[in-house]
């Protein structure tokens, strides 16, 4: 059985983000891009210290990706007098986020970044399907699924934490089905907030995620 242990959203202004990182780590995370800092803060919020050594996979999607950093790099490369500064290039590489937070999450064994190709829908159904299969087959003990975005005025992280064991305060079970189960949640970036809305109300025992992009794959959440 797979359990949903946490579902939450974080928002940070540009000034608040490094402060939050420093508070979480007790020191600054040097030369870390915004998406890396978001990944660290979300992972720390999702996983208590005693679970940070368990075999973990991080699956994260993004609408913006490192957009600001890429625009800055393009400006340097196309309009600048010379080659870009190395760290300006590194900031455009989203794959670095997982490697940079691994020292603080020793159990982080693998990560995958899933950039989104439009501004309206998300790919939670893929992240949850992969997490579900990899947890079910024992590849990892826990999975962090996230949507991380970075805009000039705000950085945001939407997080779901899943595992094969229920942690204290676990929210729901998660199962995959091949048939539609009716009245689905939309596959949009702030799915964790929608799940919290459902969990916070007396109502149906289950809710479902379906994507019009992937008929035949339904993710069912059932309250504990």
């Amino acid at each position: 059985m797979i359990f949903l242990n946490a579902a939450f959203t974080q928002h940070f202004t540009p000034d608040a983000l490094p402060t939050a990182v420093r508070t979480a780590l007790g020191k600054p995370l040097r030369r870390a891009a915004v998406l890396t800092q978001l990944a660290l803060l979300g992972a720390f919020a999702a996983l208590p210290a005693e679970r940070r050594r368990l075999p973990t996979v991080l699956l994260w999607q993004s609408t913006t990706g490192p957009r600001q950093e890429t625009l800055a790099l393009l400006d340097e490369v196309c309009n600048g007098p010379s080659e870009p500064m190395p760290y300006d290039f590194l900031a455009t590489q989203p794959a670095l986020a997982a490697a940079q937070i691994q020292p603080f999450l020793p159990g982080l064994q693998a990560a995958s970044h899933v950039p989104l190709d439009n501004g309206s829908s998300a790919n939670w159904h893929l992240l949850l399907a992969l997490a579900g299969e990899w947890l079910r087959t024992g590849r990892y003990a826990q999975a962090l699924c996230a949507q991380l975005d970075h805009q000039p005025e705000m950085a945001s992280g939407h997080w779901l934490s899943l595992s094969t064991d229920a942690t204290p305060g676990a929210l729901a079970t998660v199962a995959l089905h091949s048939a539609p189960l009716g009245a689905p949640l939309a596959d949009i970036p702030d799915l964790p907030a929608r799940l919290n809305d459902w969990l916070g109300q007396a109502g149906p025992a289950t809710c479902h995620l379906e994507s019009p992009a992937a008929p035949g794959l339904t993710v069912e959440f059932a309250r504990l």
């Binding site: 993004s62 609408t63 913006t64 990706g65 490192p66 957009r67 890429t70 625009l71 790099l73 393009l74 400006d75 340097e76 490369v77 196309c78 309009n79 010379s82 080659e83 870009p84 500064m85 190395p86 290039f89 590194l90 455009t92 590489q93 989203p94 794959a95 670095l96 997982a98 490697a99 940079q100 937070i101 691994q102 020292p103 982080l108 064994q109 693998a110 990560a111 995958s112 970044h113 899933v114 950039p115 989104l116 190709d117 439009n118 501004g119 790919n123 893929l126 399907a129 992969l130 299969e133 990899w134 087959t137 995959l176 091949s178 994507s211 992009a213 992937a214 035949g216 794959l217």
Partner: protein
């Protein structure tokens, strides 16, 4: 994994040719010449696609349509898994300021799907050099579990100054040639490629026997020099395939001519392949390092060689490095290979290994 996953078809366009067969022929002939990419006052060797278009988008469309046609007729609902580390950044460069980047950092995947005539689900992966195997891993997982029956996994990396400039700024590029495992190795030579495979639950000649991925947080630009994380991923891959090191008959290395990464990979190989070590092959001296496309491009090129039962030599190797203590095959030979392991070691800490096995 509930059911096995097979490679039903493949397509490839890279510096060495415009089909898997043509690339296999070129590799057998030892072709490894590269052109140049000038960046300000510096010029670097570069493996460009054999295309004449200068308009970035037209060139991309030509490349995609050419590779797509090699896959055979595609059902319009076939799921598409796109792997790239740069997507269409070269297009933005050509358009110039103010760089009209659309919302959705992988918006180029929509265009790729349209060119391929695909209107089904699309997924994009951007994990630097291991992007191709990330996409393949996801597609294989969904097919293996029965959620989908087939998928197209496409790797694409097209010319752009931003990536080259970034690697140049970090002094990761060779000014000369790519020399994997060689004592004279002095950096990467980048290149372009578009490559695709059609994965299916229907049995075909090659099966994905095992796959594993990992993460090496030692540094943002290079792996743990002792190779421990790389060794663990290879061991995990063997475990996933239910094979031992003795079962592997060929290793397609990451080996891109990087001083540090080649050494780490060599140390990892010595940890996993402790007794008999299978022959080693690097394709990067002939194809260049095609970054996000490299996983699929090198897989397709390797399978074309294995189908022809002709193993190419690794070009540009001459001087053994005592610290590495390994040498790639430098003489081409015919061989019937049943199982091969492929390594990817990514800029940014991503690691991936894959085992392909001849079916039947």
């Amino acid at each position: 994994m509930l059911r096995p996953v097979f490679i039903a078809a493949s397509g490839l366009l890279c510096a060495r040719g415009d089909s898997p067969g043509a690339v296999s022929e070129a590799l057998w002939a030892g072709e490894c010449s590269a052109g140049n990419y000038t960046l300000g006052e510096r010029s670097f060797p570069y493996f460009a696609l054999p295309l004449t278009e200068t308009d970035w988008l037209l060139r991309a469309e030509h490349a995609i349509r050419q590779v797509s046609a090699q896959l055979g007729p595609l059902g319009p609902e076939t799921p598409l898994f796109v792997a790239s580390s740069s997507f269409q950044i070269g297009y933005f460069e050509q358009q110039g300021a103010p760089f009209a980047m659309p919302i959705g950092s992988a918006s180029f995947s929509r265009q790729i799907a349209e060119w391929m005539g695909l209107r089904g689900v699309r997924h994009s992966f951007s994990n630097a050099c291991v992007s191709g195997f990330s996409a393949l891993d996801a597609a294989r997982t969904l097919i293996g579990a029965g959620w989908i029956d087939e998928a197209i996994v496409l790797g694409i990396e097209l010319a752009n100054a931003s990536t080259l400039a970034g690697f140049a700024a970090m002094e990761l590029l060779s000014p000369g040639v790519c020399r994997p495992l060689d004592a004279r190795r002095d950096g990467l030579v980048l290149g372009e490629a578009v490559a695709a495979i059609r994965l299916s639950a229907t049995p075909s000649r090659w099966k994905i026997a095992g796959q594993a991925s990992g993460l090496d947080g030692y540094s943002t630009t290079g792996p743990d020099p002792e190779g421990g994380p790389i060794a663990r991923v290879m061991a995990d891959c063997l475990h996933d395939a239910q094979l031992t090191a003795h079962d592997i008959e060929l290793i397609k290395l990451q080996a891109a001519g990087s001083p540090g990464t080649d050494l780490a990979e060599a140390k990892a190989l010595r940890q996993v392949f402790t007794a008999a070590r299978p022959p080693l092959l690097s394709l990067k001296p002939a194809l260049g390092h095609t970054l996000g496309a490299s996983g699929i491009a090198e897989l397709v090129a390797l399978l074309a060689c294995l189908d022809a039962e002709r193993l190419p030599a690794t070009a540009n190797f001459r001087d053994a490095d005592a610290d590495i203590g390994l040498a790639p095959g430098t003489v081409r030979r015919t061989a019937h290979i049943r199982r091969a392991l492929l390594n990817l070691i990514g800029f940014g800490g991503g690691l991936a290994s894959l085992i392909v096995e001849r079916n039947g």
